[in-house]
């Protein structure tokens, strides 16, 4: 069935409650179940315990990625991201890493491109600091993908102030606004 019904009213913020599995009906992607688009678009929340003593190395990735993006602002463009948040937190004596992303592509669809991008930007090596990450990840994309899926925690509620709107649409609207504004100036 087509999804013509997801032409939504961006003027009305919306929230969606999501079942425990992370989807309403099971739809198979190439690597497993796919998750629906919500008012907060697509995303994942990966949570994994870090290997003891690696907290400092993981934190250092913050600056690394800041520098990578400063040098090539569009490095992560294929992921169609809105936002990324990386968090380290403790539960008792153990430290956990949370990788949360909000983006416009179905994670299952562009998984191999994401891994290729992680490799190209050096992000992939942060995963090596996580417990249980496959040692042959470099040549075994399905194992990498399996780890990510096994550590994915689906949301049970998502809210969007401008529901379903993609980053590309937002940027087009802003560019249009800028051009229109400039045009009005020229008409003075």
């Amino acid at each position: 069935m087509s999804n013509a019904s997801t032409v939504n009213d961006w003027t009305k913020p919306a929230a969606t409650a999501i079942p425990k599995e992370g989807y309403f009906t099971l739809e198979q992607g190439r690597y497993g179940a796919t998750y629906p688009r919500t008012p907060a678009c697509h995303g994942f929340t990966i949570i994994a315990k870090i290997k003891p003593g690696t907290e400092g190395e993981i934190r250092a990735y913050g600056k690394r990625i800041e520098d990578t993006i400063a040098a090539s602002p569009h490095a992560l463009a294929p992921l169609q991201l809105h936002y990324l948040r990386w968090v380290l937190f403790d539960i008792g004596p153990e430290t956990y890493f949370m990788y949360q992303g909000i983006f416009d592509t179905d994670f299952d669809k562009y998984t191999e491109d994401a891994i290729q991008l992680f490799k190209a930007t050096g992000v992939d090596t942060v995963f090596e600091k996580l417990e249980g990450f496959p040692t042959d990840w470099k040549t075994n994309a399905p194992a990498f993908i399996k780890f990510v899926r096994e550590h994915q925690c689906p949301s049970f509620l998502e809210y969007g102030e401008y529901p379903y709107v993609s980053a590309a649409e937002i940027k087009k609207a802003l560019a249009l606004k800028q051009a229109f504004s400039s045009m009005l100036d020229h008409m003075q």
Binding site: M1, S2, N3, G29, R30, K109, Q116, D136, K138
Partner: protein
């Protein structure tokens, strides 16, 4: 570097064949199946013949197996478990992922393709229909010795006239764009991209990432092998012609609509280089007919709509990791042509093709699941590939135009999937390994020359 004496010819060359037959087989008994295989190995075409430049044979034989087929030949469970997940499941089980739903569902497939008893395919390419008949008779006489090797079904293919170039029943010229493999000494035509590392198509060689493994086990079975995705599509020529007439007032307008759906005129001339008018000379010139891109030359789709078939199947400079998404296509047409002006006659006709690659999930399934069937490809919203996307009458096709785009709604299904399967295409050494029923020994898991392979006599 490429072992041309060991790699089957199928993905390395296209023989000059006007006729073909696909034989789909079931093995009821492993010993007979192995004997049968043993006797045909010498007839299986090798890649070496491509390079030798000798006189073309009049017939070419290819043999490949499903995962169930490897098991039916007696391959050990421990080895079977090392094959990729999607190959083990088989194409019919992956139907929801490929969009094979509704009219395309495996329940409607013919020829036993959806059955777990589909074990092998023998592909015969023949110079012409007479030669095909001769080969078929010869094989039938041979196969009569092995009643446990059963033909589930066969499919006869013939080139559809006019015969000056290959085309499908809709009239589109085919084989306009194909990747070249490093080491074959063939210069890619302009626009086709650099030659690709052999590991993108053949197991045991470095791929575009420089990786070689992990390989299904044992090495002797997987090295020089490839995976094939077989797809049989009935082409609804009457519905297609009705659609062109409904959306174009004149023959010229109808040709343009046909071109907009595909991304090339039916002559093969690319719209990017010939946006307003067909150009058969351009179509026939390999130095020009594939030399274009989208990001620089047609970013908004005024020449080639963003959802057109060739733009989906090869986004060129508008997608990342393109060198990991390439495929090699083989195949042809079946069924009699429908004469121009004749009403739809309900006779089965279409294309039966193979997609060859090293990774079905990354190269074939990605193209079908993402590029062909994702309604949000290129942020289009409600569109699928007009020819190989799953069409149920509820999807659109946007044709960018100045000042206002044209949107066709309720695209009918021009094709139906009538069969498909995942096959493994082994190297010659691997075929001998399968025919001998050899259990993997220390010697046979390393690369050794043919004479040294340890064999356990099976009778």
């Amino acid at each position: 570097m490429l072992e041309l004496d060991d790699i089957q010819h199928f993905l390395l060359t296209r023989p000059r064949a006007l006729a073909a037959r696909y034989g789909f087989l079931r093995f009821r008994q492993p010993d007979q199946a192995r004997s049968w295989l043993s006797g045909i190995i010498d007839r299986v075409g090798r890649g070496r013949a491509v390079q030798s430049g000798g006189p073309l044979d009049s017939r070419w034989v290819t043999v490949a197996f499903t995962w169930n087929g490897l098991r039916a030949l007696g391959v050990e469970d421990a080895c079977l478990a090392t094959f990729p997940e999607e190959f083990r499941q088989g194409m019919a089980a992956r139907a929801p992922i490929l969009g094979d739903t509704g009219a395309n569902h495996p329940d409607h497939w013919v020829g036993g393709l959806a059955s777990p008893d589909l074990h092998a395919i023998v592909i015969l390419f023949a110079r012409d229909v007479t030669e095909r008949a001769r080969c078929v008779q010869e094989h039938q006489q041979y196969a009569a010795q092995f009643p446990a090797v059963e033909a589930l079904s066969t499919l006869d293919l013939e080139a559809t006239p006019p015969l000056d170039y290959a085309h499908d029943h809709f009239g589109y010229r085919d084989r306009m764009s194909q990747p070249e493999i490093e080491g074959m000494g063939v210069e890619p035509t302009p626009g086709t991209g650099a030659p690709l590392k052999p590991g993108e198509f053949f197991l045991g060689y470095p791929d575009e990432n420089g990786d070689t493994g992990p390989l299904p086990q044992p090495d002797i079975l997987s090295r020089n092998g490839s995976f094939l995705a077989y797809r049989r599509l009935d082409e609804h020529v009457g519905a297609f012609r009705d659609f062109l007439r409904a959306n174009g007032a004149t023959p010229e307008e109808q040709e343009l609509i046909a071109a907009k759906l595909m991304g090339r005129w039916r002559s093969g001339a690319p719209l990017v280089l010939a946006p307003a008018q067909d150009d058969p000379q351009l179509a026939a010139d390999p130095q020009r007919n594939n030399n274009f891109d989208y990001g620089k030359m047609d970013p908004h789709g005024y020449a080639v709509p963003l959802g057109a078939h060739i733009r989906r199947m090869n986004p060129r400079d508008t997608a990342v990791n393109m060198n990991r998404r390439r495929i090699i296509r083989r195949g042809g047409t079946y069924g009699p042509p429908l004469p121009e002006g004749a009403p739809e006659d309900g006779v089965e006709r279409g294309i039966a093709a193979f997609v060859g690659c090293a990774s079905l999930i990354r190269q074939f399934e990605f193209a079908q699941n993402v590029w062909a069937n994702d309604p949000r490809f290129h942020e289009l919203g409600n569109e699928r590939d007009p020819f190989i996307g799953t069409q149920d009458g509820s999807y659109d096709m946007t044709i960018p135009k100045r000042p206002i785009k044209k949107k066709i709604t309720g695209l009918p299904a021009f094709t139906s999937v009538k069969g498909g399967a995942y096959f493994f295409l082994p190297g010659i050494r691997a075929l001998r390994f399968l025919a001998d029923g050899t259990q993997p020994t220390r010697e046979s898991t390393a690369y050794v020359s043919e004479g040294d392979v340890a064999r356990t006599p099976w009778h």
